[in-house]
Symmetry: C2
Subunit: 240 residues, 2 copies
Amino acid sequence: MSALNEVGFLGFDVFGTVVDWRTSVARESAPYLQQLGVQIDPLAFADEWRSLYQPSMQRVRSGERAFVTLDILNRENLEALMARHGVEAGRLDPADIAAWSTAWQKLDPWPDSVEGLTRLKRRFAIGPISNGHIAGMMNLARYGGLPWDVITGAELARAYKPQPEVYFRSAEAVGLPPNRVAMVAAHNSDLVAARACGFRTVFVRRPVEHGAGQTIDLQPEQDWDVVAESLTELAALLNC
Amino acid sequence: MSALNEVGFLGFDVFGTVVDWRTSVARESAPYLQQLGVQIDPLAFADEWRSLYQPSMQRVRSGERAFVTLDILNRENLEALMARHGVEAGRLDPADIAAWSTAWQKLDPWPDSVEGLTRLKRRFAIGPISNGHIAGMMNLARYGGLPWDVITGAELARAYKPQPEVYFRSAEAVGLPPNRVAMVAAHNSDLVAARACGFRTVFVRRPVEHGAGQTIDLQPEQDWDVVAESLTELAALLNC
């Protein structure tokens, strides 16, 4: 893939691209939901929790509130969901909320992720350029065996993708100009923003990230530099 | 080692504790010195380069200049050394200086480091709490096979050890209070500062970091929580 000949670092979106957040958050949430008597399919609950993710980051992006890490947003969003489902304030204390929120640090990698990353790492330095916070990314890597060389992304920049600071600061942190970094993501919007910063772009198709009925990000929406069906296919395409 | 029972993260000093900077910088510098006709033992040259390290960081610590990463300081110090040795300005262009400075990213691990870290990583999250910059730490890890989970330290805090911000920001980044982090270092002064921040402390003896005539840091100077002769011995002491 000549488009990536000059690239020294592959920066990965993580939630959805490398790990399957939906079934994992559902699995981790099910015992809490049962204990609280909340009648909801755990997969639908995972979707609800995820649906609050972008709006909560948007308040940071817009400047309405100062930067806080994603673990804080996830906890606040869980509290909001509990209220929505009629769980009285006080039935869950802050320690319970915090423990439940670590569901986002126990996400199974897609079946091809560990092998794909391990092979890609032979040729490229690799790391997350995620909206997750550093500790969350570290714990997720240890949980799933993701062999990152470094953790870059939102916390380093104190901003959230698709804000350009996140891409620029991540490239700077690994010591490379933007055109020597490739963003690897299952989300077209992430690649649009990365390309606008001068990054190379790799689209990885994850057609069931949102379940069997997924309607978004099924196809590349621009001429991304590389398109792959999995991280192992990406490794093969890049001769790793 | 009950002192570390609550510890979740081991933060490592790198230059001297994990890698042998002296013989590696000498090896990487020898061809440049020969080409320029500078008559000096490469090991003595490595010592000279290193001797400018603390004073250059001190200018940042004191507020005399804004934070810049260690690669910048290393390059400036190399230029100063060239002038001292009578190499006319212009014989080395900025690209040569930059290339030579990457000597600090090609440092051999001590013989026990990779095995020791690999074993410690089974029980603890591990990462550098170094004055090195993120890209340098990443490249050094890839060069030597150091299996870090995360890279914390000076660049994250925009400060230099022993400034407390470096320890506090590193603990915060890995999501732990200071008393659940241990600093692992071959330098008593680093452990003094880490302990003052509430960290646990591990002294690793590196009696030839500065060569056979080393006079400093041969012994623990306080009752550090753990003292080990190597990272493999540390792994054994911690049941890893």
